[in-house]
Amino acid sequence: MASPTAPATTRIRRQLPTSPWLFAAPGLLIVGVFILYPFLSTLVNSFTDRRTLLPGRFVGLANFRELLHDDMFWIGLRNSCLYVLGVVPALVVLPLLLALLVRKNIPGITFFRSAFYTPVVASIVVVGLIWVWLLDERGLVNALLEAVGVGRVGFLSDQWLLLMSAMAVTVWKGLGYYMIIYLAALANVPRELHEAAAVDGAGALRRFLSVTVPAVRSTMVLVGALSSVAAFKVFSEVYLMAGPSGGPAGEDTTLVMLVQRTGTGLTGRVGYASALSVVVFAVTVALMLLVLRADRKDAS
């Protein structure tokens, strides 16, 4: 980047004209063939009636028109949106509180930080199966609820409780990840601000709201953007807890589950699943823009 190096690098280029591309080639090839080409072919396929074993032909907007009349699509869209609304506020606030709890260097704190990160490390399948067992009609959570006199709850049999349980699992698994991001941000908050506020007589809560929160606000927006995009594309948690067909009468199906279900297998409707994917792209981009715009508006 720096200009003093320009003469040297110019000579290098003359010496080895092809090698820069050799360096970049493996990466460009993989990304091109398996990310960018599939992205473009998703867009193209969404206008065709392509199936797994049939090439398909151009059908215009027929797939998108069909989406509008597909009950499953609306259920998937509803659940994916509910997922964002349920998960994102929790993942913006709770990891910040957790980061405040583990930031101070007290004895044993590295152990706690690592331990809180364990759910992030564990694969989603392990996490899903652990919670299926915990939330089972006869599982640990219900045994504890019964022991305190609440009685058993059908976490995995009721449509809404199932969705909320999956959200809780997503939050549980994400806490540690966002905690680390907040820790990095908190390290950059100048301590003088806190001291000044303390001298002015601000209590702990007041200092949290008027010093800490403004200082990590852009990180909160980042966490909001990351978690909302991830929440909208939720697949594994719900798939594992509700089963491949999406819970009672498929009422817990999410959009990506629908993509997977309609697009795969020998009779997979690749064209229709691509149209669903295009909706996933569109909403993802919209969510990012929404969060980033909220950021700019607040800042000004």
């Binding site: 090698s19 957790l98 260097n105 990160y117 991001i181 994917s277």
Partner: protein
């Protein structure tokens, strides 16, 4: 009780750190530190129970024998007669060690390809000058922004056109050089001083020598982060192997576990043993490498 045990020795050590400690020690002074620390440890232990407890419960379930009541109320947290029998039975029910080996192959290949591929490409983006460099960078940035969930069907059809469906190579390929890793490596190479490169050039080192002997050893930290994330990402992945693999003999561990759960849902001891087999190596790996790990996550977040 353990709270007090932990809290009591703390004030002495904390006092020594007070001058450079964060705000809590500075503001509250000596009188409050005792109960504040106790409260902190109480909260820490509560969160610990919530985050690690479920894993321990799963471990406990996997060790309970066939005659033990795993549905007892109130629940018993320690197995009455601990046994490894369930682990043997998992292996009899599904080829769990083959699945683990498949996962290991996939994860190992992913580590190698990601380290090599993203180091090479990152170096090309950061340290070499040529026409089209900006375009190459843009390709990786765009690729990073594409949500994998949205292109998964097209990836599947691409893989089928290449005749690689239902193979482990097919599982590895789409993520074998991730755009995010390329950009991470690019950032690492960018932060190296140019003077070293120039000196080596004057000494007659060609581009490969400068890459292998000078640049690469200086970014070992980032390379370790890439390796860890590549391993975990491949070991933990679920959606893509679920779509690309159809033959049970080629399943990876995550897909095999889902299969185990679907087929033998009535015996939680087996499922529990299977999940412990899947998660134990990762927790061990993580415990050894957590220092690099946290640095990597922090850096990644800051650099966006």
């Amino acid at each position: 009780m353990s709270v007090l045990d932990r809290a009591r020795p703390a004030p002495g050590r904390a006092a020594a750190r007070t001058p450079r400690g964060p705000r809590f020690a500075d503001e509250h002074g000596r009188r409050l530190r005792g109960w504040e620390l106790a409260l902190r440890y109480l909260l820490l232990l509560a969160v610990l129970a919530l985050t690690v407890g479920p894993f321990l419960w799963q471990l406990s379930t996997s060790l309970k024998g066939p005659t033990e009541d795993i549905y007892s109320s109130p629940p018993s947290f320690l197995p009455g007669h601990p046994t490894l029998h369930n682990y043997e039975r998992v292996a009899e029910t599904i080829p769990v060690w083959d699945y683990a080996l498949n996962s290991l192959k996939v994860a190992g290949a992913n580590v190698v390809t990601n380290c090599v591929g993203s180091a090479l490409a990152g170096y090309a983006l950061a340290r070499l000058r040529y026409r089209g460099r900006k375009a190459a960078t843009l390709v990786f940035v765009l690729a990073m922004l594409v949500p994998v969930e949205g292109i998964i069907i097209a990836q599947f059809t691409t893989m089928r056109e290449l005749g690689l469906n239902n193979t482990l190579i097919g599982v590895v390929l789409p993520g074998c050089v991730s755009a995010l890793n390329v950009l991470l490596m690019r950032n690492a190479f960018l932060s190296l001083p140019h003077e070293i490169d120039e000196a080596a050039y004057v000494d007659g080192a060609d581009v490969w020598q400068r890459f292998l002997r000078i640049a690469l050893p200086s970014v070992k930290g980032t390379l370790a982060v890439v390796a860890i994330f590549a391993f975990m990402g491949a070991w933990d992945d679920f959606l893509w192997p679920l779509i690309v693999l159809s033959d049970p003999s080629r399943f990876t561990l995550t897909i095999g576990l889902n299969y185990l759960h679907g087929t033998f849902a009535n015996d939680e001891r087996l499922v529990a043993a299977g999940t412990i087999i899947a998660v134990a190596p990762l927790i061990a790996l993580f415990a050894c490498l957590q220092r690099y790990f946290f640095r990597g996550v922090g850096e990644g977040a800051v650099k966006g």
